[in-house]
Structure formats: C-alpha cells, structure tokens
C-alpha cells in the first residue's frame, strides 16, 4: 500500500512538473494559438466601449500584424478586397469599429502548423463574427500565416478560404 501510494505521488509530481514545463516553456503551436485567442479578444468591442477605448483597440490590433502584412478577403456581400500594410489595416479597423455598435469575434477549430525553421506558422481556423446585438452571425474559414519577428509571432498574411468551391 505504501509503495502504491509513493508511486501515485511520484506520478502526480511528474504530471505537475510536466504541466509547469509547458506553462513556462510552451511549444510554438500553443504560443501561436494563444496569440489568436488574444487577437479575437482585441478585435471584439462591447456596446459600452467609447471612442477612446475603440481607438486603443485599433492600435493594439495592428500590433498583431507585421508592417508588410497582407489581408486578402472575399466575403459574400463585401466582395474581394486586399489590404496591404499596417496603415490600410488600421484604416479598415477604425472604420469598422466606428460603424458597429458592438462586435464579437471568435476563432474556432484552430490548428497551427509550425514550419521546420520554427520561425513561421500556418494557422487554419473558422472565424465567427457577431455584429451588434443581433443573434445572427457570420462565419468564415480563414488561413493565417505567422512569422516570428523580433521574438514575437506576427501575422504576415491572412486570407479567407472558400469552404464550398
């Protein structure tokens, strides 16, 4: 009984050490997916948020993109557009935040594949966007490319994917 208890304790300690290791030294996939969750929170705005808060969010939002980032989207109702560089992204985000009462962004079913060089990552996810107080939402499959620049994972390319061809 004593041996069983000691073995159990050892297993628990081992598990705890492993968990602590993953907390302090997360693998790149986890870091990139964490970045994506953080991006969703930054891209969401509540109805009670004022102009200053929204402007700060726009400023934070462009921090997720590299200076030469490209966003290419083709969404029914909006058509096909491409945004190049942080300035164009900032302008589009500011316009969007100003025109919407509130916006909730969620990224679901996200998977990250880090390249062999450990400096680039491809992320596939599904964005669910709920504008205003409406219960309706838009859903869009996305592909994002991240690159590790100065120790930080930044989006260098984002594009919409046509689920049905």
């Amino acid at each position: 009984m004593k041996i069983a208890f000691r073995l159990l304790l050892l297993a628990v300690l081992g598990g705890l050490c492993f968990w602590l290791w993953t907390v302090f030294f997360p693998n790149p996939e986890k870091v990139v997916l964490g970045k994506l969750s953080s991006l969703a929170a930054t891209a969401s705005v509540g109805a009670g948020e004022g102009a200053i808060s929204r402007a700060a969010k726009v400023s934070n939002l462009i921090g997720y993109f590299s200076t030469d980032a490209v966003i290419s989207y083709d969404v029914p109702g909006l058509g096909a557009h491409t945004l190049s560089g942080r300035d164009e992204i900032r302008e589009a985000a500011a316009g969007g935040f100003a025109s919407l009462a509130s916006l909730k962004v969620q990224f679901q079913d996200a998977t990250a594949r880090v390249g062999a060089d450990k400096l680039t990552a491809d992320v596939s996810c599904t964005a669910q966007v709920s504008p205003g107080d409406s219960k309706d939402f838009g859903i869009q499959e996305l592909r994002l490319q991240f690159k590790k620049i100065d120790g930080d994972w930044l989006i260098i390319r984002a594009e919409t994917v046509k689920t049905l061809q």
């Binding site: 079913d109 996200a110 998977t111 939402f137 994917v161 689920t163 049905l164």
Partner: protein, 179 residues
C-alpha cells in the same frame, strides 16, 4: 444487540436517493456512464443546433439535432442525404464546433444545373419532394470532381448567389444528420 447492528448498517433514505444502497457500485456506474457519454457525444453523435434558415422548411432555426460521424464509415454519402460539412479542420481527435448543414444533390463525377428552379443531374430532372419554397434559380452545369459532392440547402427562395452552396470535398463531410 444484533438488531442494533442491523439498524446501524442500514443506509438512510437520503443516502439511498443520492448514492444508492451500494455507493461503490453507484460510483462505477457513474464513471461508466460518463465515459460512454463522452465517447458517444464527442466521437459518434455530435450534438448540433441549427442556426439560420438555409435548410427551411426541413430544419428550422434553433432546432437541436445530432450528426452521426460513423454514417459514412462503410458507405459513401448518397444523394438526398443531409450532411454536416466542416469549415477548418480541427484535427483528428477533435470535433468541429462550426459546421454547415446541407443536402447532397450531386455525386462525384456528376453535373448539377438549375433551370426554372428545378435541379437537373446530368441533364435529368431531379425529384425533390422536400422543397416547399418557390425557387427560380437558373444556373449552368456545375461539374463535381472525382472526390467532390454538390451540396445545397432546402430553402432556395433566395437568389442563387446569396445561398451558400457549392462543391464540398469528401474530407469535409463530417457525417450524416440523424433526424
């Protein structure tokens, strides 16, 4: 003395209601039931809630249903099947959280066209008794690839371009809608 022992060993009514006469057996039952539920509702039957009017009148908005992930283990999807189609791939051991619910019209290698609101498969009129809403779609033939299915909703009262429809790869079909 014996009567007193028997009385003290007899579980109270509250204990019987909460954890049964044999707590160990109840615990095992709970663990087995939990494991069965987790496996069933994560890997076999995915609970879903319909959002939107794309499948009206067959499936109404906010209706709850299930997707059978094992439906196409031994057979391929058939015309008329209502299937769930995933967006991004959540990985091998995860169930997708967001899916499209559509009906299969075109099978691999077939062409699907619309004339006067009616669907034609390889030029032959398709009987679709489940359609109730008026439709005026006109569209040239859409060719399905060797591993592609043409899927569309049952509510075709909206313009063709505003309805989410098209070719879905076989790997995107998660399973068959149960009810």
């Amino acid at each position: 003395m014996q009567d007193a022992n028997l009385n003290s060993a007899k579980p109270g009514w509250l204990q019987i209601v909460l954890i049964g006469r044999r707590p160990k057996a109840t615990l095992v039952r709970i663990m087995v039931l939990t494991a069965v539920c987790v496996v069933t509702f994560k890997f076999v039957l995915l609970p879903i809630r319909v959002e939107g009017i794309s499948m009206e009148p067959t499936y109404h908005d906010r209706r709850v249903n299930c997707v059978n992930r094992l439906a196409y283990l031994r057979s391929e999807p058939q015309r008329g099947d209502v299937v769930a189609i995933r967006f991004s791939d959540p990985g091998k051991f995860s169930a997708p959280r967001a899916m499209l619910m559509k009906r299969i019209l075109g099978l691999p290698g077939e062409s699907v066209s619309f004339h006067g609101g009616h669907a034609y498969i390889n030029g032959q009129l398709l009987d679709e008794p489940y359609l109730k809403n008026p439709c005026d779609w006109e569209h040239d033939p859409i060719q399905c690839g060797p591993d592609e299915y043409y899927v569309v909703g049952d509510n075709r009262s909206m313009p063709f371009d505003l309805h989410t429809q098209g070719l879905a790869g076989r790997d995107r079909i998660v399973g068959k809608v149960l009810l």
